[in-house]
């Protein structure tokens, strides 16, 4: 393979490949540089990434499903590496940073720090060498935005990294990808190799004076390694634990050298900003939040999967236009954004615009793109418990508030869900939340109480029902519900009695049956198996003989 040594050569190559592949790609014409190329395409879509709906627009995901991720040639047909070649031939690093600055791009890992600012800080640090790191340690439960980009369009990330490296003055980059993404890892390794073969990575890339290479490092399953200082420690071969900032990585990062860490999605945006111009990018979104954002839409909506929407879109537009409404036409209760450290936004705030500031003001956060829609049957205490369980499991344990705070809060939430909540539990949760949020070392601990804080804020009455009335209003917490047979609907078919694992259901054939509340373990099998909808769930613990409430 001859190496590509100029932008012109790259453009010629693009023409050649298109010529060769005309038949394969005849379904789409070559799209010139311009806005229309982001018009959603509906090809080979799948369960994860379906045909676009509503206000969806695809910048980050534009090539996903359209090109063969294993083929650099395919990427070149989609203007691949033209941004890098342009930058290397026509722009100074300072100009690159200026363009990204004008675009208003902010970190897509969730914190929303202006990307250009981060690069500038790293560039201006006199220390050398410098490093660029791609954070591909996507760990939020149910989130797969980055995986999809890595699996579907790895070169867009590599190109973004190379441009960033040029801008900050780094010659070495690392992609830190979680090992639980074997396909992404394989695709990346292949892409790095191809780029090296084409002279796009390595010494004097694309014929310029600039040399840059990328190594892949795999994570070992710790969620906290998505935190930038923990990620750096992990690359250095140490235990993946965060360290206090300052100093920020721009000052002292990998091996103590200036380092810029950006998310997969941030990098994937870079080539398009260069090619299409910062003004185009800035035309999308709100005043402070520009461009698009990908979300993994999940939960009780009809259309789940990966979506990419312009920032500033309202939650309502996401849930009802893109998500096509709540399943079974049930009522919306809340939307959880920001991953396990995010918060629950109640249905009453459905018209909230989705941007960094609005979400934070609502007690949640942008995060990397998890979005869970919850219908009226959701128990908010149980949701808080679920996320706290995750955060407790993933706390690295370095700082006291996160290590023990998450554990203690989970203990209380478990108790409440089991119907053993006591007076003062809510206040204790609030106290622990505050200390954990304020005094934890890194974002994990600081964000860990968010599910509790936001649910207490918006759904305090549910907590009170659990604690004082021993009742789960959403009828989810098994210890706080009871199953009863409606005599008028029961046909006495005995099906439920046969399936009951504890023998709690008795009754004569063809006569209404009865559930013995002492023996019942609230497993719900009778409810699921009854063909006559004769079993109902009632909130509140069964009053047992001799028990005082």
């Amino acid at each position: 393979m001859t190496k590509i040594t100029s932008l012109n050569q790259l453009l010629n190559l693009q023409d050649q490949i298109i010529e060769q592949k005309r038949d394969d790609i005849s379904t789409q014409s070559f799209r010139g540089w311009g806005q229309d190329k982001f018009a959603p395409q509906a090809l080979k879509e799948d369960q994860e990434l379906d045909a676009p709906r509503g206000k969806e627009i695809r910048v980050v995901l534009r090539n996903c499903t359209l090109i063969d991720p294993e083929s650099l040639d395919d990427y070149i047909t989609q203007d691949g590496y033209q941004a890098l070649a342009t930058v290397l031939e026509q722009q100074t690093p300072e100009e690159v940073i200026e363009i990204i600055g004008k675009s208003g791009l902010r970190g897509r890992g969730g914190a929303g720090f202006p990307t250009a600012k981060k690069w500038e800080l790293t560039r201006n640090n006199p220390e050398n060498p410098k490093y660029i790191i791609c954070n591909a340690d996507e760990g939020d439960p149910g989130a797969f935005m980055n995986r999809r980009v890595l699996e579907g369009d790895p070169h867009s990330v590599l190109e973004g990294m190379a441009i960033a490296a040029y801008a900050i003055g780094a010659e070495q980059g690392y992609v830190y990808c979680r090992a639980e993404y074997p396909i992404a890892v394989r695709t990346l390794m292949n892409a790095i190799q191809q780029a090296q073969d084409y002279g796009i990575l390595g010494k004097n890339i694309l014929g310029s004076d600039f040399s840059f290479n990328i190594e892949l490092r795999m994570g070992a399953g710790a969620f906290v390694c998505g935190e930038e200082t923990a990620l750096i420690a992990s690359i250095e071969g140490k235990r993946g634990e965060p360290r206090p900032r300052p100093p920020f990585p721009a000052v002292s990062g990998l091996w103590g050298k200036p380092t810029s860490i950006n998310n997969v999605e941030t990098f994937a945006n870079i080539p398009q900003i260069i090619l299409t111009g910062p003004e185009w990018f800035a035309s999308m979104g709100t005043e402070k939040s520009k461009g698009t954002k990908t979300f993994a839409l999940a939960g009780d909506v009809n259309h789940t999967g990966l979506i990419e929407v312009p920032l500033g879109i309202t939650l309502r537009e996401i849930v009802y236009d893109v998500g096509e409404g709540i399943k079974k036409n049930k009522g919306l209760k809340a939307i959880q954004t920001g991953g396990p450290m995010g918060g629950c936004i109640p249905a009453s705030m459905i018209d909230l615009p989705v941007d960094y500031e609005s979400l934070a003001a609502a007690g949640s956060m942008m995060g990397s793109g998890g979005m869970i829609v919850m219908d009226e049957d959701t128990c908010m205490v149980d949701i808080a418990r679920f996320f706290m369980e995750f955060n407790k499991e993933e706390s690295c344990g370095k700082c006291t508030p996160c290590r023990v705070g998450t554990y203690s809060m989970l203990e209380i939430l478990n108790r409440i869900c089991k119907g053993e909540g006591i007076d003062g539990d809510i206040e204790e949760l609030e106290r622990l939340s505050k200390v954990t949020r304020i005094h934890s070392l890194c974002g994990l601990g600081q964000g860990a109480p968010n599910p509790v804080i936001s649910t207490i804020k918006h759904f305090r009455e549910e907590y009170e029902a659990h604690i004082y009335e021993k009742r789960c209003p959403a009828k989810v917490c098994s210890a706080l519900i009871r199953y009863e047979i409606m005599i008028d609907k029961c046909t006495g078919c005995t099906f439920c009695a046969k399936n009951c694992p504890t023998g709690a259901i008795t009754g004569e054939r063809r006569k209404p049956h009865e559930i013995d509340q002492v023996t019942c373990i609230q497993c719900g099998i009778c409810f699921q198996t009854c063909n006559f909808n004769a079993i109902e769930i009632l909130p509140g613990k069964a009053q047992l003989v001799g028990e005082h409430s």
Binding site: A222, R239, R243, P244, P246, K392, E393, E394, S395, C396, G397, K398, C399, T400, P401, C402, R403, V404, G405, T406, Y407, S408, R431, L432, V435, I438, H439, S440, L441, Q446
Partner: protein, 926 residues
């Protein structure tokens, strides 16, 4: 300096420090558990969180660098609540006694009390972990009291450089573990106890003193094990040493100690201690005829014992002359005592036949460096080297085991400053783990190795020609001899690849200054002096002498072997290396000690002929030419080479006086046993390997009727003089010492290098490295600045010579000998410190896995080594620390376990040091 405001008060503080350390310095108390000034900041416990104006959330003071005009609040209502909450959170997994003092201070419980936390109510009810879960006899582990501050992890990594402790699991399941969850000793713990000292709770405690109450008094003193000269506090209760605690004012070691220094104190109060003088039965009988079987001991009073000793020595002196008496002084005793032994020998008895164990360890260093530079001591200080050296070359020193504190400081230098470490040793010793280059030379090829490196340096013109031209002599002659030492030739002799030789030479030439450390691996050869001369050549060639971070640094073994040499405990020099062959010095001491003019007895006139070395004295005792030996604190039966021969010699000796604290193996052959005392029972000074003179202080009263050794020597001298009816009146001739300080005054008056040393200056905390020329002189941390002691440094051409006894068909293995971390020399002290013995209970013989297969030996199996001179038994330690064909054994255990049954008394022709490091053996399994 910058301005900051703390709690409304303005302060001027230095830049570049953390807020917590600045606050601590100016007396603002911020609570903290994970931070310690000696360790890198961690930021984990979050107790030191403070509010800083302009910052949204509180920040940890321990990791926050101060910046100009920073406005800080350390005590707000929110912080108070948060701190209390954090302490309560820490109690969630905490379970332990409520006592704040339990052998050590529990700072965590102290803080809980301060913040009004109800510990009993908030603490975990059931212990989560096994209490006292680790079998290490020194370190008590109770993870139920662990608050995961990770100070132990950092202390082990950053202070000791051992990386034993680590963290397992995540989050609430976090747990401190040793290695990958194994007992400490299996995780290569060196039992230094640093982790315990830094632990703020009772999770780690010192097992030997666990639960002990506070001491009545603490007495700062100098350790009596190795030559590093660590200081610490003896904790005394009921006139017993109950534990040893670090003293932050210690000049050499700061708060760091090693396992022997910290935990090896139980010998002081061991029941075996000698408490009364003893003589053999026959000495109390008419005619004092020595039977063939030496006969039983009889306890006597001091007067009887002293009279017997004095009379016998006078009689032998009269019959056979003073040179028929030999004295072995002691590197374990103080400078003052060694000075008195020297005075007793030369003034009272009239012989230069005085020597001590330096003969067996660094006599070749003293001789070699004196020839090259004019002074035979370590040229630089440890602190200087670890702070300023760019590279360190360790050859023939198992530093981390034999000089543990220096070893850990070298590790720190590698970790903190990235100093390039070159280790050359036939065994892959622990410090080799930290080396940039490790060279495994064949035993006995050191001259060839270093000559080969110098050959490469000269071929590449890497030498410091200016230094050589200006400060050295005999360069051309020396240069010519190096011609033959081509990489090819040296590689075949040493077994080191040409590539490694080149890399090493280049590192030495480019990473300057370089300091050289060595110990017995260089000196204990029949070519010991040649080895030392060659290293001296190397440092001159590179211009590494008389500068910071360079120098020649022989690590002295015994606590006061430097001082025993300094004090004239050698047959050829008076105190301060004033040679007996120089008539001027004979005159000087004859006048001071009044041996020439006033005493009138012809047999006491000092001669210019040096006396016998210890390695000559003992064989001559066997031949009857030396009729009496006065041995203080030495154990030749264990430590001499070829001890079977030594045994025969001592058996044949007519009269042996042994002054000891324990009935050592040598006591079997003694006629009189005088009970001396340990370092805890007397005052005086030790001189460490860096020529630093330090105090030891009496902490407890002597056991039984035992007396400080200086008192015993004085009593013997006075008794002899009294019986001989000699009277000394001169200021420095008399023997009426009231205390050790008085003796030091006499030393200072007669010894130019000690002229400015007084106990008073040392009490005041002055750091004094000799030469200290007068009372105002600050001492000399670095020798040979500007010019060498002898004027010009002299290059000595040296040639490789094979060791005296090499393996052959009958004895196919090469034996090299040494010591281990947990024991000290012949083991008289360490085998009486129960915990040390528990860790290392018997002699182990290191053997390479290939040889183990060859001889069908399993780990821990009992094996026997045989040489032409004797046999040794021990357990096989199968390890690749040794190379195939090489076995390693120690001399810490008595009788048939002693490796000196095997060793060879082949002596260096100049220094008379025996070749302990090489002899041929064969192996049989039992």
């Amino acid at each position: 300096m910058i301005q900051i405001t703390i709690n409304g008060q303005q302060y001027e503080v230095p830049e570049g420090k953390t807020l917590l350390s600045v606050a601590h310095d100016i007396g603002v108390n911020i609570p903290s558990l994970c931070d310690h000034p000696d360790l890198t900041p961690h930021g984990g416990c979050r107790l030191c969180d403070v509010e800083v104006k302009g910052l949204r959330n509180p920040v940890a003071a321990c990791t926050l660098p101060v910046s100009a005009n920073m406005e800080v609040f350390t005590e707000t209502e929110d912080l108070e609540v948060a701190r209390k909450t954090i302490l309560e959170l820490l109690l969630v997994n905490y379970n332990g006694p409520l006592a704040i003092e339990n052998g050590k201070t529990n700072y965590f419980l102290k803080l809980c009390r301060q913040y009004h936390v109800n510990v009993q109510q908030k603490m975990r009810i059931e212990p989560k972990y096994l209490v006292d879960s680790d079998p290490n006899p020194f370190i008590r582990v109770d993870l139920n009291e662990c608050i995961l501050c990770t100070r132990c992890i950092r202390a082990c990594a950053e202070i000791q450089g051992r990386f034993v402790w680590g963290l397992a699991n995540r989050g609430i399941e976090n747990q401190i573990i040793a290695g990958s969850g194994v007992p400490l000793l299996q995780a290569r713990c060196e039992s230094c106890g640093a982790c315990v000292d830094y632990c703020p709770t009772g999770a780690l405690s010192h097992k030997p003193s666990y639960g002990a109450l506070n001491a009545e008094k603490k007495v700062q003193t100098t350790c009596s094990y190795c030559g590093v000269g660590c200081n610490f506090d003896l904790n005394v209760k009921d006139d017993e040493v109950v534990k040893i605690t670090p003293n932050p004012n210690a000049l050499v070691n700061g708060k760091h100690l090693c396992v022997k220094g910290r935990y090896g104190y139980k010998f002081i109060n061991h029941p075996d201690r000698l408490k009364r003088p003893k003589v053999r039965q026959y000495l109390l009988e008419q005619g004092q005829q020595k039977p063939i079987e030496i006969g039983p001991w009889v306890e006597v009073d001091w007067e009887t014992a002293l009279t017997i000793v004095a009379k016998k020595l006078i009689q032998i002196k009269k019959e056979s002359g003073p040179d028929s008496i030999g004295l072995l002084t002691s590197a374990k005793c103080t400078n003052e005592e060694n000075y008195l032994m020297n005075k007793l020998s030369r003034q009272v008895i009239g012989t230069h036949n005085i020597d001590h164990c330096a003969r067996l360890c660094h006599s070749s260093t003293v001789a070699g460096l004196a020839m090259s530079y004019g002074s035979g001591a370590m040229s630089n200080t440890v602190e200087d080297i670890v702070e300023h050296a760019e590279s360190i070359f360790i050859i023939g020193s198992n530093t981390t085991e034999q000089h543990p504190i220096i070893g850990s400081k070298i590790r720190q230098a590698v970790l903190r400053r990235n100093v390039k470490l070159i280790v050359a040793d036939p065994r892959k010793i622990d410090i080799a783990d930290f080396s940039s280059i490790y060279l495994r030379q064949k035993p006995g090829t050191d001259v060839a190795l270093i000559n080969g490196l110098m050959h490469i340096i000269l071929k590449n013109n890497w030498q410091d020609q200016t230094f050589i031209d200006e400060r050295c002599e005999n360069f051309e002659e020396f240069r010519a001899t190096l011609e033959d030492y081509t990489p090819k030739m040296v590689s075949s002799l040493t077994g080191i690849s040409e590539q490694d030789l080149l890399k090493t030479a280049e590192t030495m030439a480019t990473q300057k200054p370089m300091a050289v450390f060595w110990a017995m691996g260089i000196t204990q050869h029949s070519t010991g002096v040649l080895n030392v001369l060659t290293l001296a050549n190397l440092q001159m060639l590179l211009g590494n002498m008389g500068i910071k971070g360079g120098g020649v640094n022989p690590l002295r073994g015994q606590n006061n072997v430097q001082g025993a040499c300094d004090m004239g405990g050698l047959p050829n020099v008076f105190p301060g290396y004033q040679s007996v062959t120089n008539p001027d010095f004979i005159d000087k001491f004859s006048i001071a000690w009044q041996t020439k003019y006033s005493d009138g007895l012809p047999d006491n006139v000092l001669t210019t002929k040096p006396g016998l070395t210890s390695t000559e004295m003992v064989p001559m005792a066997g031949e009857g030419k030396v009729r009496a030996l006065y041995i203080m604190g030495e154990n030749p039966i264990a430590t001499d080479p070829d001890v079977n021969h030594t045994r025969k010699c001592l058996q044949a000796c007519e009269f042996i006086v042994l002054q000891e604290i324990f009935p050592s193996e040598t006591s079997e052959f003694a006629d009189v046993l005088l009970p001396g005392v340990s370092f805890a029972e007397k005052d005086g000074t030790f001189t460490n390997t860096e020529r630093r003179v330090q105090l030891i202080r009496q902490a407890i009263t002597p056991k039984g009727a035992a007396k400080p050794d200086w008192e015993i020597i004085s009593a013997i001298a006075n008794k002899i003089l009294q019986l001989e009816k000699r009277v000394f009146v001169g200021k420095h001739a008399r023997w009426d010492y009231q205390n050790a300080s008085q003796i030091m005054q006499e030393v200072a008056a007669l010894t130019p290098s000690y002229a400015g040393i007084t106990h008073e200056r040392l009490v005041n905390g002055e750091s004094l490295h000799w030469p200290v020329k007068d009372l105002q002189h600050p001492g000399t941390p670095i020798l040979h600045i500007g010019s060498f002691t002898r004027g010009k440094g002299k290059f000595h051409p040296t040639e490789h010579i094979d060791p005296k006894e090499m393996p052959d068909d009958e004895f196919p293995l090469l034996l090299t000998t040494g010591r281990v971390l947990y024991h000290w020399h012949a083991g008289e002290m360490t085998r009486r410190a129960s915990e040390l013995l528990e860790v290392y209970p018997a002699a182990y013989i290191e053997i390479h896995p290939e040889d183990a297969i060859k001889y069908n030996i399993k780990p821990n199996q009992q094996i026997t080594l045989n040489s032409r001179r004797g046999t040794t038994k021990g357990k096989a330690l199968v390890t690749d620390r040794v190379s195939p064909g090489l076995v390693f054994a120690n001399f810490h255990f008595p009788g048939e376990q002693n490796t000196n049954n095997l060793t060879l008394a082949a002596l260096d022709p100049i220094a008379k040091i025996p070749e302990y490091k090489v002899c041929a053996v064969n192996l049989s399994s039992d």
